[in-house]
């Protein structure tokens, strides 16, 4: 388990990093939790590796004007313990703390995770439920992409060649919102077989706002808009959960078939909705 040889670079600025990517043979190294295993298996053999860790400011988690900005190089552990995250978008913190194990959370970064777009990553469920935006930078400048449009297919995102994820931007969850990330972990890899992230806001006896993100079930994370609409339209949690994943493609592997994954997504959506409602004020 030894990777192929490569050249290693630690640019000091984003501009420098972008320039290094120009010839196409380079890969960005953030925490390395996805890239390094692939390189060791020789499934990935980049000619050069561009490590972002010396670029200042990419790690910061800040809050401004009702939005939280999470630097792409923030680690899962930094996110799970961040007071800003805990206070302003706790759903993301809950998803971060569900990732892998402490060693992986200490190294792995949110930018690396979203760029890799593993169909079984934890974050995307929360990010689509939070209506997060992914901030991308290229030689041509910056742009943002909605999370629900960012995850296009398995390992496929809306990023263009030469773009780097620089931050994730999330609107504050309102204090009255309830939230929950529910996960069924694969017994070996710890990846979610299915993960469901839910946000709800109550209005009297009804639900004023519902957001449901699902990961692991299909080739990419998605928002269960049909279920959200049912909840917001006054349907019960059970009725809403029952339509999660309708019309979506499913993954299957040795551990869980597509049919079972869809079923799990529904069961855990129901449980996550119930849990989120108990947390909502």
């Amino acid at each position: 388990m030894i990777s192929n040889a490569f050249s290693y670079h630690t640019p000091e600025t984003l501009e420098e990093a972008l320039a290094m990517l120009e010839d196409g043979g380079g890969k960005i190294l953030a925490g390395g939790m996805s890239l390094i295993p692939l390189m060791k298996l020789r499934l990935a053999s980049p000619e050069s590796v561009v490590d972002l860790r010396r670029i200042p400011g990419l790690k910061a988690i800040t809050e401004e004007g009702g939005a939280v900005r999470i630097g792409a190089m923030a680690t899962h552990h930094e996110i799970e313990i961040s007071p800003v995250i805990r206070g302003k978008c706790p759903l993301l913190g809950e998803a971060a703390s569900a990732i892998g194990d402490i060693q992986v959370r200490n190294m792995g970064t949110i930018g690396g995770s979203v760029a890799h777009a593993d169909p079984a990553a934890d974050y995307p469920a929360a990010l689509v439920a939070l209506e997060a935006r992914i901030r991308l930078r290229s030689a041509n400048g910056e742009r943002t992409v909605e999370a629900s449009e960012f995850f296009v297919d398995a390992f496929t995102t809306a990023m263009e060649a030469g773009e780097i994820v620089v931050a994730i931007e999330v609107k504050e969850e309102e204090a009255s919102e309830g939230f929950k990330y529910e996960k069924v972990a694969h017994p070996a890899s710890g990846f979610p077989v299915v993960g469901v992230a839910v946000r709800v806001k109550k209005s009297g006896a009804g639900i004023a706002m519902a957001r449901i993100g699902v990961t692991g079930m299909g080739p990419h994370a998605f928002r269960a808009r049909n279920a959200e609409a049912l909840l917001e339209g006054g349907a019960g949690a059970a009725a809403a959960a029952a339509v999660v994943g309708e019309g979506e493609e499913t993954n299957s592997d040795l551990y869980a078939s597509g049919e079972y994954r869809r079923h799990l997504a529904r069961v855990h959506a129901g449980r996550a909705i119930a849990a989120a409602l108990t947390r909502a004020l």
Binding site: Y8, M33, I36, D51, I102, N106, A188, S189
Partner: protein, 156 residues
């Protein structure tokens, strides 16, 4: 292709010419001559290679040595001070928290962060905190006991 790597391991500074692809675990074992961190799986699952990097537990088989440039690594060899065992080492011994011992150095390093983050963990919190370390011998129960014992005695 080689580049200079300078870092601190167990308080001692090292500087060597290394290939970028050299894994940190191989640097620690083959270049720096340590025997505590072990290689058990290579897919970032088993945690036998766990060391602390700037105070945080990491899997040294899933890091290139060059990523540790300028940083500080603590391994199991750096725990005992002046021949006095660290409380976790002592507790692992007292509670029979190891059999073949191969996973032990990594397990202890992870437990160290676990207790640093949460000085009085519940049994479930201990078990979850050790999610990234596999032991094939003990069934984990004595390991849980060892971590509990250290927590009870006031920390690592």
């Amino acid at each position: 292709m080689k580049q200079t790597l300078t870092l601190t391991i167990n308080g001692k500074s090292y500087s060597d010419e290394v290939e970028p692809r050299l894994l940190l675990i191989h640097y620690l074992r083959e270049v720096a001559g340590l025997t505590g961190p072990h290689i058990g799986c290579e897919t970032s699952i088993c945690g036998a290679c766990t060391v602390m990097l700037d105070g945080m537990a990491v899997k040294s088989c899933t890091m290139f040595a060059v990523q540790a440039e300028g940083r500080s690594v603590l391994t199991i060899e750096g725990l005992a001070q002046n021949g006095k065992l660290d409380p976790l080492q002592e507790a692992f011994w007292n509670e029979h928290a190891l059999q073949c011992g191969f996973c032990t150095p990594g397990m202890i390093m992870t437990a160290r962060q676990l207790l640093a983050d949460n000085p009085s963990p519940s049994e479930q919190e201990i078990r979850h905190g050790l999610e990234g370390n596999l032991c094939r011998c003990t069934g984990y129960q004595h390991i849980v006991n060892a971590v509990k014992a250290v927590a009870k005695a006031g920390g690592a």
